[in-house]
């Protein structure tokens, strides 16, 4: 069975969607030479009318794509750096996202924003290490964070086909993952449907993006003593609340591991919703970046701000102990 890397899965999804729909085109910086590798080979395959290298004008080309989308195209924009989303927050959150409602449903803005390398890249310092998916879920932009190669393929394909703006965060920590897959079975993955990676009875660990691998490792470590269920929401907005509720019906305990800053991160929302609406027999916990973290450069300091397996393991043990 072929072994598919996460990055190749993204590349394959873009190519397949471009084959399928001539309205799909790609805008971004250095997408022709494929600096991130997500667009490798696509310029040769589809030509410069569909793989469009842009000047370093993120704000203009982001809204340019909005206009092109309203005129019938289905653009994908690649951003090399997650912090560029701060620069274009106006163009996504305040323009692209609002047009459907503000026009009373007269138009749609099917643009996909792809971040191949979100979160820390291991010492890329303060302005290249953000993971701002919670911001987009908060303002209501459809937000996905695939954790595996097949989900990267499936969620990116769905994002491109979706009639609304969708931000696809491909965590740096997951880009190196490989998975044996039957390429003919790669398929779109619906938004708002989570995935249970490992069944368990004692506690549900909700893990976002690359942290799914950490959650699985912790679950394995604890296997003799605590039965951990690993739930991957896959998309953060929409969120699979019924999937989470079903998991908590069984386990009654919740730990979230989330690469957001603590305050107002998606982890807080997951805890709050579970506390309000779902079955919990112990106080829930979360492991996150610190409040308002700016990732420092030095490796030790960078790592000190990210959720760790040790922290997750301790949180799981405390939560189960408390129950």
């Amino acid at each position: 069975m072929p072994n598919l890397s996460y990055l190749k899965a993204l590349n394959r999804a873009i190519g397949d969607e471009m084959d399928r729909d001539p309205a799909v085109c790609v805008f971004g910086e250095d997408v022709g030479v494929a600096v991130t590798n997500a667009t490798a080979g696509l310029l040769r395959r589809f030509g410069p009318d569909r793989i469009i290298d842009t000047p370093i004008s993120e704000q203009a080309f982001t809204s340019f794509a909005t206009g092109a989308a309203m005129a019938g195209l289905r653009p994908l924009i690649e951003f090399q750096i997650p912090a560029l989303l701060f620069l274009v927050f106006e163009q996504i959150a305040n323009q692209a996202h609002k047009f459907s409602l503000m026009t009373g449903g007269q138009t749609r803005v099917p643009v996909t924003y792809l971040l191949p390398g979100s979160g820390s890249r291991d010492s890329w310092a303060g302005q290249h290490s953000d993971h701002p998916y919670s911001l987009f879920a908060h303002v209501g932009v459809k937000t996905v964070v695939p954790s595996t190669p097949s989900d990267a393929y499936g969620l990116l394909a769905t994002a491109i086909r979706d009639d609304d703006p969708v931000v696809v965060f491909a965590p740096s920590g997951a880009l190196g993952l490989r998975e044996d897959v039957d390429l003919t079975r790669l398929a779109p993955v619906p938004l708002g449907v989570g995935r249970v990676h490992r069944r368990g009875d004692d506690v549900t660990v909700v893990a976002v993006g690359h942290l799914v691998q950490d959650a699985l490792a912790v679950a394995e470590d604890l296997a003799g003593t605590i039965s951990v269920e690993v739930f991957d929401p896959r998309s953060l907005h929409p969120f699979d609340w019924s999937g989470l509720a079903a998991s908590l019906e069984r386990t009654g305990r919740l730990v979230v591991v989330d690469d957001s800053n603590r305050s107002c991160g998606i982890g807080g929302e997951i805890l709050a919703t579970a506390a309000e609406e779902m079955r919990l027999i112990a106080p829930p916990r979360r492991v996150t970046r610190p409040d308002g973290a700016v990732l420092p450069f030095a490796r030790e300091l960078d790592l000190a701000c990210q959720p760790t397996r040790t922290q997750l393991r301790a949180a799981v043990e405390k939560t189960v102990g408390a129950g």
């Binding site: 004008s57 909005t66 206009g67 026009t103 449903g105």
Partner: protein
């Protein structure tokens, strides 16, 4: 009879231009009154005084061309062909409005006639117009887009970035700067270093200063820019010199901030596109148009006031084009 200053340009229809100017003028008078009486909430940014620009530019466009507009956008929406009654209903927040009451004055849109929407962030729609125009050309059509923006917008980075993209990629967009002398309370000289035409020139974009009080001059200049865009030669910029007769926003009618003198306003209003264009057509024709507009706008106000208010249960309808529903704010 007709005014000798009229151009006799066969492409210009003096009566049609007068009608559009009169329609916008009358619409804004009624809208301001409806703000005063509380029928329109949130106030408006009156277009009064700038009508020649909307009338002249839209007269040079086809129905399948598109425009993006600004917070001061009523003139553009009407001149492009939106129904004044549904426009007024939108301002009044009724479900019979163009945007079903979801947009209001600052976001009025009518995609059926090519109005991609007014935008309330200064300059924000300029790249949107350029993107739509680029898509038209890529599809092999000769459709064009017009981006309207004010003198305040030429200090926005995204606008200048768009000049660069549009020129690089020969985008069929006409950049129409309505220089009314003020970015809210700030005079153009206080906010613009260099010149507006010079900004376009720096990107190799042909730029022309236009008398923005003369609908025929605006139409002629736009026609040239549109022809250039349709031919594949790329963008042009028109700087239309105009004067805002009324407030930046109707809020000023009560707050009365003092950033220009009564004398200055009186001087600014002395050259009025309504009178200028009105003098170019026979008096009888003018009277006929005035009467027709009067009846049309009376009907528009009646339609707006009779429209139902939207059902609160539908507040988040259209949030997602796919129909996805958002969670409620309270359980």
């Amino acid at each position: 009879m007709t005014d000798p200053t009229s151009t006799a340009d066969p492409a210009c229809d003096p009566a049609a231009l007068y009608r559009t100017v009169a329609l916008i003028r009358g619409f804004e008078q009624r809208a301001v009154e409806l703000v005063r009486t509380g029928v329109i909430r949130g106030g408006i940014h009156p277009y009064t005084g700038q009508e020649a620009i909307a009338a002249g530019t839209c007269a040079a466009l086809r129905s399948d061309d598109v425009v993006t507009s600004t917070h001061r956008g009523h003139g553009h929406v009407l001149a492009k062909g939106a129904d004044p009654a549904r426009m007024m209903a939108e301002l009044a927040g009724r479900s019979t409005g163009l945007n079903r009451g979801r947009g209001g004055s600052m976001h009025a849109a009518d995609f059926a006639v090519g109005v991609l929407g007014a935008d309330a962030i200064v300059g924000a729609a300029v790249p949107i117009a350029a993107g739509a125009a680029w898509a038209f050309r890529r599809a092999g059509t000769d459709r064009v887009a017009v981006a309207y923006f004010g003198d305040g917008a030429v200090s926005q980075g995204v606008v200048l970035e768009t000049f660069n993209l549009a020129a690089l990629w020969r985008v069929p967009v006409v950049l129409v700067c309505e220089n009314n002398g003020f970015a809210t309370s700030m005079r153009t000289a206080e906010t613009v270093a260099g010149t507006i035409l010079g900004r376009a020139a720096a990107f190799g974009i042909p730029a022309t200063g236009v008398d923005g009080m003369d609908p025929e001059a605006v139409q002629r200049a736009t026609a040239e820019a549109v022809a250039r865009a349709r031919s594949g030669a790329g963008p042009s910029l028109l700087e239309c010199a105009t004067y805002r007769f009324d407030a930046h926003h109707t809020w000023e009618h009560t707050a009365r901030p003092r950033y220009r003198t009564d004398q200055e306003v009186a001087e600014g209003r002395s050259r009025d596109p309504l009178h200028l264009q009105g003098a170019r057509i026979p008096e009888a024709a003018r009277a006929r148009i005035d009467a027709e507009i009067e009846a049309l706008l009376d009907q528009a106000v009646r339609f707006a006031c009779a429209g139902p208010y939207p059902d609160p249960a539908t507040a988040l309808d259209h949030l997602y084009a796919t129909g996805m529903r958002a969670r409620a704010g309270a359980l």
